[in-house]
């Protein structure tokens, strides 16, 4: 690709048009991703968007990069496999709250712990959209709009940032779909961070949770430098309202995999075979 021509955000959009409902917060995330890519002058050919299943997981096809739209909950696993095998690529995984915190919850925990150098954007609208609006792990206890849980899910919602911190994620940020420019900046920072960066995006669902339009009034920027101490971050994440945005926590940690210290020999395969000779 010719990088001499400076690409604009719209140049990072593919010809495939989003199927999202007008009013969906995911448009904003898509917008922010392409803005971040333009700002970083990222090579389209060397970038891969990977997702699972759900409304937000449709995003990779909309970006003019390489992409993989996998199965429900497994986007992070595909992304880590790719990044480990191809460290030269920029890898971004994305998906929704059901995909990432429910069916893919184990991968989320272990991706935080493993610290492969990649970015994960979770678009949290507190609901399963593709299957008609069931409660997700981040749905409020008393949200009674789903026929599946007519009296509300009745269980405490996850705190994704706290979970990420406890699992060892070294970079935790939060953005809001109502502010795509701030989100773009956070995504750019996340991509540039050396390690696993987790961006939690409050992204409204106009169809199943129209009450989320109220978020606009609740969301507030934290406006302080990111915490670099996990103890302090734990206090923050356990006690905050979940609506503060910005880069909340960032700490450098050794990424995985480490550089190999094993000397390479041209005839390594021959030697391996020879080890079986009597």
């Amino acid at each position: 690709m010719n990088n001499a021509v400076q690409l604009k955000a719209k140049d990072y959009k593919s010809a495939v048009k989003p199927i999202w409902c007008p009013g969906c917060g995911h448009f904003s995330v898509f917008n922010a991703i392409t803005k971040a890519m333009a700002a970083l002058a990222i090579s389209k050919d060397d970038t891969v968007m990977i997702s699972g299943i759900g409304c937000s997981s449709r995003l990779p096809a909309y970006v003019d990069s390489y992409g993989f739209h996998g199965v429900h909950g497994r986007g992070l696993a595909i992304a880590q496999g790719l990044k480990v095998a191809r460290p030269d690529l920029t890898v971004m995984a994305m998906g929704g709250d059901g995909d990432g915190f429910s069916i893919g919850g184990n991968h989320f925990i272990h991706a935080c712990r493993r610290n492969v150098n990649m970015t994960y954007i979770a678009m949290d609208n507190e609901v399963y959209g593709m299957t008609k609006g069931q409660a997700s792990p981040t749905t409020p206890m008393d949200w009674d709009h789903s026929k599946l849980t007519p009296h509300g899910p009745g269980v405490r919602p996850f705190k994704p940032a706290a979970l990420a911190l406890a699992s060892g994620a070294p970079w935790i940020g939060r953005a809001y779909s109502g502010n795509p420019n701030q989100m773009a900046k956070l995504i750019a920072q996340a991509v540039e961070f050396e390690g696993f960066s987790f961006l939690h995006v409050m992204s409204q669902c106009i169809t199943f949770c129209p009450e989320q339009t109220d978020w606009k009034a609740i969301v507030h920027e934290r406006g302080e430098p990111a915490l670099t101490d996990a103890d302090e971050a734990a206090k923050l994440f356990l006690h905050e309202d979940g609506f503060q945005t910005g880069l909340l926590y960032s700490e450098r940690r050794a990424t995985w995999p480490p550089e190999s210290a094993v000397p390479q020999s041209e005839d390594a395969l021959g030697q391996l075979a020879a080890s079986f000779r009597v």
Partner: protein, 569 residues
Amino acid sequence: MSSTHLSIAITGAGGAGVISCGELLLQAWARLGGRGLLRKAYGPQIRGGESAALLKLTEDERYTAADHYHLLVALDWDNFSRFEDEIQLGPDTWVLCETGAEIPAAVLALQPHVLEVPMAELAKSAHPDGRVNMLALGLLGGLLGLPVDSLCQLAQQKLARKAEAYQDAAVASIRSGCAQSLDCELHPPALGDTGTWYLSGNQAAGLGALEAGIRFVAAYPITPASDVLEWMAGGLEQVAGQLVQAEDELAAINMTIGAAFGGVPAFTATSGPGLALMSESIGLAVASETPLTVFNVMRGGPSTGIPTKSEQSDLNIALHGLHGDAPHLVLAPLDIADCVFTTGWAVQLAQQLQTAAIVLSDQFIGQSTAVVSEPRRCAAIASAPAEPSAGGDYLRYKLTDSGISTVASPGDVDQRFTADGLEHNEKGTPSAKHSDHQQQLQKRQDKLEQFDYGEQWAALSGSGPVAIVSFGSSSAAAAEAAVQLSASGTPARTIALRLLAPLQTDALAQALAECERVVVVEQNHGAQLYRYLRGQMDFQQPLHSYAMAGPVPLNAKHIAQFVAEVSAV
């Protein structure tokens, strides 16, 4: 006087070291040009429980489990009853045990020749740290005429990381054992050529995979597949590959897909329960045409089943376990050495055909170690000519005559696409249109069915009116049965299937030409191969099923009897 084989069981408990004893004995035997198989059997304890090294020294490499033991070396009798099913003794069996030990009544009832040796005392007098297993190794070496220096050297090699005194004790014990003369008559088989290899099926599979180009492995531990992954962890380091220990099988298969999407040949190994967990994403590999190899080491099922014992009962899930119409490759190595060939072939086919290959090994060939002639390798498959997409618009899933489309990987210039598990059109854009679905289903079927798999789809041997059809590890027992049948005047041909899907029905029909009856041999309860074959083709001759569940290995004599019986009707 030599015989066709000599079976030796070495049993003991609580860290007695019977496995090391068996390994060293077989290695020393192999150095002389001997052939043989070592199986291992364990109780459920992780350490300290009873274990057995089950050796079968042979004159050929048709490795089946012994159905009778000529020699039992009991380092102790703790919980020996656990192995009663597996270690069959008789009046012609020599039992070598500690002087004064209480021999189980069930063993005495068989009236074997009992040889009592004061092993503990001899070991202690050889060295303060002298050990009974090494003394027994010396005794066995003496009985088989193995050079004592060779045994000592092998022991030192194995114990190289232990303290020097510990090694000295082993050597002293071996020498002391070798110096004893025992009144025991054994008939070891003839020796063959040297220049052999000594390895397990799981190691062989790992080597085959690396040689075929695998450079990424995602691993989740499971018995009896973990040792493939462990061997590959070390191997990959040597060839600048990567291994990730995943959090579960769901992650393992998807990491494999990710790496393969990146253009790096990728592999995972598992066993039945893990294969079940991986199934959804193997479907994703099929739909997205992402090449990968899943090496499944079968064990007794369903559910947790019998994790340490062999069975061929994952054939159904390997063939039919994917949702939707999801054509993919299913292969099975025929024996330990063939694990190199078949795994290498599977990797190459998966890469070439851009699909998932499931390889069905099992605990028997996976975890047994054998002496084999240098394994045959799979020649490189020539890759299909790239069909460039028209007009510069890259079509990842372009419809072609062969069904194979040109694959791009991230980093390739201007070939960007999004791989998708959703049905898609030629470009990869999600589509629910009937025409796209029909075309892509057909394409994915065509590329597998139109490919020329050559002669390797099966190993054919012998001739005769009866054909014994098998797959994977049951093929050795089938071959042995055919030899016995031929010797008794009813020649049989064997067809050992290496490629199970797509089934080469034309080639199979040809191999069955002028055949009067077919016996399908497999190690499972549900006659899975038999039913599969019946569903896939019309047979001109009667088809009989010999299906026997694990954990007891298939017995060639019983197969031969069955074939004789059905042929006599």
